[in-house]
Amino acid sequence: MTRVRELLLRATNPTATVFVLLVFVFAAVFVKNPGFFEGPSLMAFLKQAAPLVILAAGQYFVIVSGNFDLSVGALVGAQVVIAARLIDGEESRTFPVMAVMVLFGIAVGLVNGLITTALKVQSFITTLGMLLVLYGAIRLWTGGAPTGSLSESFRVLGRMGIENVPVLGQIPWALVVMVAVGAGSVLLMRTRFGRVLMAAGDNDRAAALSGARVDTARTLAFVLSGVSATIAGVLIGGFAGVSAQVGDGLEFTVITAVVLGGVVLGGGRGSVLAAMAGALVIEALFTLFNQFALPATLRPAVQGAIIIAAVAYAARRRTRPVPTATATPPTATASPTPS
């Protein structure tokens, strides 16, 4: 009996909610289209979902440390345009340009982080400003429309995969990158850095007083977000081609994904795996919308309703005291961090 109860409790805690939601959405997709779970179409889905999942991991670091990064969408757009302009169809430039992109992503993250931590500007404003700067600068540099083209080897990561795998057909490189980023993020959250990040989001003064370098950790979180936007830019560029609009509005989708994963805006709570699962839920929802042939104009409305409902449900669980052996004091406003 107790085991069942424990299992039920675990399934309804905010972090696990997203996995339950994922199962539901996948089940709905399966009912509508049983062919979806055959290797090739599942792989195609994951290939398409990979950039959002990777962005969610990057955004998770920033959010869990108590900040926002609204500049990722503009950064993804900027990276794609930079790649096209600098590579300009020449194979030999592929890897140097990729290195430049990574440096650019790190630089943008560093600027975001330093303005937020050293100059004490709220991250909402810092990254909103960065969004405007990147958006304007990229269009100024290219004169409105992106020029140049990507090389074939640049597009391999977004388009190709490991061929002739039994059952699955092709394992996309995007999926491999996604799994690597996911594993790296989970490991990172278990290191000292990860603990400091979580503590900084929960109570930055307590963290600072116990000797943690809160500002350094938060700045590094922005850098990680910049790097994740770079990786996502490489994948999206390879998959979808060159356009300055690819990133527009992506920041809101990513933050939604992270919050859907039970990560609390304001920091200190939530797991990176759940944040990435949140991104998968959103992509699965888009697939479901396709299969129900929902009019494109109605999709935002359904998406909005689902987000509010899911977060309200998670919030309801969070405000209730969790009956565990180590009883929480009744005055506490929130239950302990679910791990």
Partner: protein, 336 residues
């Protein structure tokens, strides 16, 4: 606890607001000089009219936004609410002068209901306002995109005057906006709910323990914010002559938030005011006009705006750190 609010709030507020009006004067001087060097005149009647016209729309949105941000909330749906309101106004009026009062009432009702929904979900379901208002924004966007393929409704010429008439160099819409701002300043300084808003934004738990109905306060702020977005929608309808669903693509909500923060209101709530917000709106309007007169590339405009916003907030943050933020924060730490 509540009795502490008055003395603590008023001293720093005066200082910060004065600083922002100083910044506005600085922007005017620098902008005027730049335009003069370019051979123009920033203070010619035409440019002043342009400047003042720009303030009214963002002004309405920013006044309401100030109230929710003071309560440590946020409203990302105002752009969509304004677009919806412009459609409600134009379709209700339908070219008939007699329908104008009904249309205004309908707009305030609809936009107030959107605000009430935002407030209720945020206050009583415990959803983060960022998500709540992003969600309602998306829901309205879905409704608008599905229901309206293009402009709809017809605004009678009398009401279009609201968008175009001027008293001297000052557009009527700006006068109305300033009147709403004055009402909001009075509301925050002199009404009980206004004081409660500062308390709720300062520390929700302390406010609740002091006997404030925090949920109601948050609801009020969101409803008022929705209604100012409705006023912005009326202005949009008056300017375009029809209702336009496309209006939400201009991302007015981000402009409004930028103006509020430029005006010295803390995004973390509990500190700031509408007087500062009006200056913030004016700073953005002056910048836009200067960029226009100098014929700066529209994309460079975005870059400059971003830099100006970050710089301004960094300067405020430095000031607040030095003087005020430290003492209240320690007091708050002991209290919780």
């Amino acid at each position: 606890m509540t009795s502490l609010h008055k003395p603590r709030l008023q001293k720093p507020r005066l200082g910060t607001t004065a600083l922002i009006y100083l910044a506005l004067a600085g922007v005017l001087v620098v902008g005027g000089t730049a335009v003069a060097l370019d051979g123009g005149n920033l203070f010619a009647t035409a440019t002043i009219v342009d400047m003042l016209t720009r303030t009214s729309l963002t002004g309405f949105l920013a006044i309401g936004m100030t109230l929710v941000i003071l309560c440590r909330s946020l409203d990302l749906s105002v752009g969509y609410t304004a677009a919806l309101s412009s459609l409600v106004a134009a379709t209700t009026m339908d070219g008939q002068v007699a329908n104008i009062p009904l249309a205004i009432a309908a707009v305030l009702l609809v936009s107030g209901l959107v605000g009430a929904a935002n407030g209720a979900v945020t206050a009583y379901l415990g959803v983060n306002p960022f998500i709540t208002t992003l969600g309602t924004g998306l829901i309205i966007k879905g409704y608008l995109d599905t229901q309206y393929k293009g402009p709809a409704g017809d605004v009678p010429a009398v009401f279009q005057q609201f968008g175009y008439t001027r008293l001297g160099p000052v557009p009527v819409s700006t006068v109305v906006m300033l009147a709403v701002a004055a009402a909001a300043i009075w509301f925050l300084r002199s009404s009980r709910t206004g004081h409660h808003m500062y308390a709720v934004g300062g520390d929700l738990d302390v406010a609740r323990m002091s006997g404030i109905r925090t949920g109601r306060t948050l609801m009020t702020a969101h409803i008022l914010c929705g209604m100012t977005a409705g006023a912005a929608g009326l202005l949009l309808a008056a300017r375009f002559g029809t209702g336009s669903a496309e209006a939400y693509t201009n991302l007015y909500e981000l402009d409004a938030i930028a103006a509020v923060v430029l005006g010295g209101t803390l995004l973390l709530g509990g500190k700031g005011g509408v007087a500062g917000t009006v200056a913030g709106v004016a700073i953005l309007a002056v910048l836009d006009t200067v960029f226009n007169v100098l014929q700066i590339d529209p994309f460079a405009k975005d870059v400059l705006r971003g830099v100006v916003i970050i710089t301004a907030v960094a300067i405020y943050a430095r000031r607040q750190l030095d003087r005020h933020a430290r003492r209240p924060r320690f007091a708050e730490g002991k209290a919780s």
